[in-house]
């Protein structure tokens, strides 16, 4: 059995959930999302974020607008869509159930 693979599988589902969760608190730039994810140690390398962000945008869970920046080219400013909020609520419930189930098993 591949320990690293199993760990990666665990982390992968969580990452998508975390992105939506961060955006539900406030809209922000990709670099802000990265900073939070790194502080919480959810990602190791930043590159994992970008394909996920784009996929979620394509699935209409997020949207972005271009914000002008005084120091250079415009940047993407992300926010959660209505579908994204519903999707997140579903994931919140699912996460709570999961934690409960695992705790039941671990503490028996």
């Amino acid at each position: 059995m591949d320990l690293e693979n199993t760990k990666a599988q665990m982390r992968k589902g969580i990452l998508e959930y975390c992105i939506l969760s961060i955006l539900s608190r406030s809209s922000c730039y990709a670099s802000d999302i990265i900073k939070e994810l790194k502080d919480a140690k959810v990602i190791v390398v930043e590159g994992t974020l970008y394909p996920l962000l784009t996929r979620q945008k394509n699935a209409r869970l997020l949207s972005y607008r271009w914000e002008e920046s005084p120091q250079g080219p415009p940047r993407k400013y992300y926010e959660l869509t209505k579908e994204g909020k519903e999707y997140l609520a579903d994931l919140d419930e699912s996460w709570n159930d999961l934690v409960e189930s695992v705790n039941l098993i671990r503490t028996r």
């Binding site: 690293e4 990666a8 992968k12 190791v44 590159g47 962000l53």
Partner: protein, 196 residues
């Protein structure tokens, strides 16, 4: 003293050392290949490039005006190599594609002296090809039969061209991990031969 180039990364202008530029170019190319199958690969790459520019800008000061190879290596470690990124992605695909360990004899033209016949036989039986060559030479000297057998085998045995065939030649299962390892090995060999 080094030559520098002026580059546009994500809409910002940078002065970058020549060697740093080569390394960065290689990294971006690898990323492009990695995301080639994705629906919005151009958008992903553009986002990553913008991030690279952001990171580079934090490294420049009034004293330091040029992006160096250390900066590039640092940014690569922060963003992650395609391998680092794929470790966090769909890993289930790895297990699905795998053919059982077919063991076929091919001509190994990568390690040939004449036609790769002896290398191929050696790979199939996991024997040093020179032993096979010795046998052929001895049998040829004893009446020419070896040459005939060699020619027949040369015609009959197919050349191992694809990486999957080269893996089959040794009798190992063909899956993504093995193909990855084989390609990496070949890349390193070429690199060594060219002293890169």
């Amino acid at each position: 003293m080094k030559i520098t180039l002026s580059v546009n990364i994500g809409g910002y202008s940078f002065n970058i050392d020549e060697d740093a530029y080569s390394e960065l170019k290689r990294y971006l190319k690898n990323l492009q290949l990695h995301f080639a199958g994705e629906e919005s690969s151009a958008e992903i790459l553009s986002d990553i490039e913008s991030r690279i520019a952001e990171l580079f800008r934090t490294k420049l000061t009034s004293y330091k005006q040029v992006i160096t190879i250390d900066d590039v290596n640092n940014v690569i470690s922060v963003l992650g190599t395609p391998e680092d990124i794929s470790d966090n992605e769909r890993t289930s695909a790895k297990d699905k594609f795998s053919s059982p360990g077919y063991h076929r004899m091919y001509r190994d033209t990568d390690h040939r002296i004449i036609g790769g016949v002896c290398s191929g036989i050696g790979a199939y039986w996991n024997v040093d090809p020179w032993i096979i060559r010795l046998i052929f030479v001895v049998v040829t000297m004893l009446g020419g039969l070896g040459l005939l057998v060699y020619l027949i085998l040369y015609i009959v045995l197919p050349e191992a061209r694809t990486t999957a065939q080269k893996i089959e030649m040794k009798g190992e299962p063909v899956n993504i991990q093995n193909i990855k390892d084989s390609v990496k090995k070949e890349f390193d060999t070429v690199r060594k031969n060219m002293n890169l």
